[in-house]
Amino acid sequence: MSEELILKVKQMIIDSLRIEDMAPDEIETDAPLFGEGLGLDSIDALQLVVAMEKEFGVSVPDAATGTKVFASVRSMAEYVVEHGK
């Protein structure tokens, strides 16, 4: 997994969720994004679905897939590698 992609995913999260006062390196690569960690919810998840499609051209078809994909920054990056065009 390239550090460049990890960084791009973190920046996408910050931009799409309008997280203020946070730099990409403040998001832990393996920390959970929902519940603990960034404390994201279902509204955020749909925003990330749209951002993933726009930024990386990958589709997250349903919430079950989303739960796995949005588990952490690393799992998001892995999904991009596996499903990216």
Binding site: L17, D41, S42, I43, A45, L46, Q47, D62, A63
Partner: protein
């Protein structure tokens, strides 16, 4: 321009209760009036339902946040509200005192709980389907759209069994997220007409001042006045919340910054979604 926006009641308990002297004072007022302490979550009033407790926590939290903002910043240019957020907005705009806003929330909440106690009601939070899809699902299951929050975020209300079957249909249609929450009453649906006469009797006990800050209503995006507020409070329970239209109207009025004055960040997240589609 800055707008303070007041969210509706939380649907679930969130983070720890506020450990703050200002919140303590508001909580003590609430506790003396209702038997429920929103700081500890402890109730000595067995008649209070979970929904009424959430409503009381929501109004107390909004008043707390509003007072905090007022102590540090100039007043906002506009106020906006979503559902039960009307009571926090009325307190912020000087239409009612904070104590009166808590009291009306309590009396209105109890009225709803008592009136609709014979059936089980629920709310359904659906994320991801289009409005026409959710409207069709609502019709098929004899429930109603209670909140049009964005093009993809909708709240349904109605009989619990109807919400449950609507949730199943939405899941089959590929909804991204569908969650069901217990509720005392079918808020923002025509079924609420049953309490209108009794709610008017409650409202007659209060004097409504003119808002000191313009307050936009979520039904038709008009600014509320002392004369129209009681009618609005009764009508809004029978009609959906149109947050997407309200947000666009506030933008047209020149609002550039929105501050959510309540528990959570749901309105800010709806705004973010609406902006992303513009």
């Amino acid at each position: 321009m800055i707008c303070h926006m007041f969210p509706g009641q939380p649907v679930v308990w969130g983070a720890a209760f506020q450990d703050d002297d200002s919140f303590r004072r508001i909580a003590e007022t609430c506790c003396a009036m209702t038997g429920f302490d929103p700081q500890t979550g402890v109730s000595r009033n067995p008649a209070l339902t979970e929904t009424v407790k959430l409503q009381l926590f929501g109004i107390c939290y909004s008043i707390f946040k509003s007072e905090q903002l007022a102590s540090r910043n100039p007043p906002p240019d506009l106020l906006a509200e979503h559902s039960m957020g009307i009571y926090g907005a009325l307190a912020a705009g000087g239409v009612l005192t904070a104590d009166e806003a808590i009291e009306i929330t309590f009396r209105g909440g109890m009225l709803m709980a008592e009136t609709f106690s014979s059936d089980a009601y629920a709310l359904g939070c659906f994320i991801g389907l289009t409005i026409p899809q959710v409207e069709s699902i609502a019709r098929n299951n004899s429930v109603y759209i209670a909140n049009y929050n964005t093009s993809r975020h909708v709240l349904l209300a109605g009989i619990a069994s109807g919400i449950e079957s609507a949730k199943s249909e939405a899941e089959a249609a590929g909804v991204f997220s569908a969650k069901q929450f217990q509720a005392d009453a079918p808020l923002h649906t025509p079924l609420m007409g049953e309490i209108t006469a009794d709610l008017w009797i409650i409202l007659a006990d209060y004097h409504f001042n003119e808002p000191s800050i313009p307050l936009m209503g979520h039904i038709d995006q008009q600014f509320l006045t002392a004369a129209t507020i009681p009618e609005f409070i009764c009508s809004e329970l029978n009609m959906p919340v149109y947050w997407d239209k309200t947000y666009h109207a506030l933008r047209k009025h020149g609002v550039e910054r929105f501050i959510e004055v309540g528990f959570g960040q749901s309105l800010a997240k709806f705004n973010r979604w609406i902006d992303s589609e513009s």
